[in-house]
Amino acid sequence: MTENQHPMTRSTDPAATDPAATAPVVTATDPWAPLPKGTISKEALSRPSQSFARATISSFLRTPLAVFGVIVVLLMTLLAVFGPMLSPHTYDRQNLAYVNLPPTMKVSEADGRFFYATQNLKVVELSADGRLVGAIDGGVEDPVKKRVNFELGSNTLTLDYKAKPARFLYDGQPVTNTQQMWNSEHVLGTDGLGRDILTRLMFGMRISLTIAVIAMAVNLLIGVAYGGISGYFSGNVDAVMMRIVDIVSTIPLILYVVLIQVLLANSGGFLSIVIALSTVYWVDMARVVRGQVLTVREQEFVHAARTLGTGNAKILGKHIIPHVTGSIVVTATMLIPSAIFIEAFMSFIGLGVAPPMASLGTMANDALATLRSSPYQLFIPAAAICVLMFAFNFIGDGLRDALDPKQRR
């Protein structure tokens, strides 16, 4: 693309828009040879003019990472919205018979039946296709031999936990026929209370995304209104409002969020996290909007509107803010991952949503205690957080490049 593509160079000469006249002529060998006169119109645009929105979208769509980010976010949103409805499990139903079952289990086959020993020496029977048949009860523990004996009709199943990992004996004979089996009932396993992790994950994503989107929306409203008013009225109003922002931004925000969270802890974690996040993080947005409004308000169309007697609210809302949309969109997109991040962080230090609700952060926090025996319980929510963070970061970067005309190719 050439430098002189400003819309002002658009010609009114009909000949200039004639495609034949604008077609570039490829000269054979010498790149420095002068073109024949009249083959190129200086006034013509080298490509069709595009509206800002269309140019932005097409530029955005040409960034593979950003498109990937959008697809991932859409998929995860669908999963978060519809997943818990379609799941046969609920996020809060506990099943103490099936505690800490991993996604893949090393099962031992004896007499055509499949057995799996959990970390807490409970035995679960599986069918051949990985469905859970039931827990085997009535084990008699022999602490001296470090064994647990189960009566299965006329046979005895023995779990020997002298050496790790524990192994099975069937009628006294070691069971050698073992295989890895997918947990087809709980695809991502169960947690320490026997709750289905996939369902909790989808539910947790729903909570985390909801918190992030609400916080983003509130911050957007407050930030745009605050920054817009401050920049538009400038002068003393601006001075006072920006000093307030200065003070707020010197406050380490995370401390403030923690304080609000402590204060509102009794009203249930979800609401207080939303309030905590949305009352604080508008400061950046206010700064960005104010800076942009300060430059836009000096432009002629604003003076024109004012001369025509348009009210302040209308000038700000209808004439100025639309010019600032680009930076608002980028800042808002970047607010979502930071809200997810802060929510996970708060949940992780024990200030998250109240149990039995799940968010990605609380799931990671709960898993920390059993990291040694059931690491998958941590990896799954951690992976979900990372994927979300990546996706939103990609979208934000892509939007920033797409909305910046200097970067456009």
Partner: protein, 305 residues
Amino acid sequence: MARYVVKRVLFMFAALLVIATITFFMMHAIPGGPFTSDRNLPPDVEAALRDKYRLDDPILVQYGNYMLGLFRLDFGPSFKYEGMQVNDLIAAGFPVSAQLGLVTMAFALAIALPMGIMAALKNGKWQDVVTMVLATIGVALPSFVIATLLMYVFSLKLGVLPAFGLDSPQAFIMPVIAGAGFALAFIARLVRASLLEELGRDYIRTAKAKGLKPSVIVVKHALRNALIPVLAILGPTLAGLITGSFVIEKIFAIPGLGQQFVNSISNRDYTAIMGVTVFYAAILITMMFLIDILYSLIDPRIRLK
């Protein structure tokens, strides 16, 4: 300059005053008070406790006393630890956190600066791509994810690094890496971007035209200017490192101030929460102030008014 410094100092105090006030009233707005939550105290014991901590005074009197205490750097007694002052808690935790924070910062800079410089010099080559991929990962991965993954691999699976404490030099490795992740990625990206910008400027072309060695051009000319924006973000970054340490200290069971803060939250130890918050805020604000002053001293283009 002097006017600016005075103005900034006044701001610092205003911000601290606001923080202390917000903190105080928030802690007192919590319904039920500190002694009614978990255990059922006999009424006379509770009355004695309330009397001891002067909780029956009018709230403004309590506020006045608290603020007067703050001016004498006295954060009052802890609610949960009998006979402990909040000052004692801070004095016990802060040196540990500061040590960890400084090592983390040094580590982040030691890795990020060469990485960013290399990425800028090899713009578009594989070194650049690798750096940017790593930097994106570092920005997107929460520190607790890095920390727990490191702990799982190196302590639980391989058993080569201690899983908690800060007793030996090896014990620093995981907390420092996990804590530095974000800062490291952020600084590396910034160094790259700003060095690329400087390398495209006219004075670099002049230096090249005069036949200076490439190393001299980069180190003596471009880098000096390129590092100025890096300096500007050191304040907020350090702040981030210190607050990020809540999680790191919790995971690795490091008895620092962050751990103290998290504990006082889960114990609902209101005076400790207030004290640690105000202390944290004071440290962070002072650091940002010092770095801003340093910034203006180094870059003559920035005139502080």
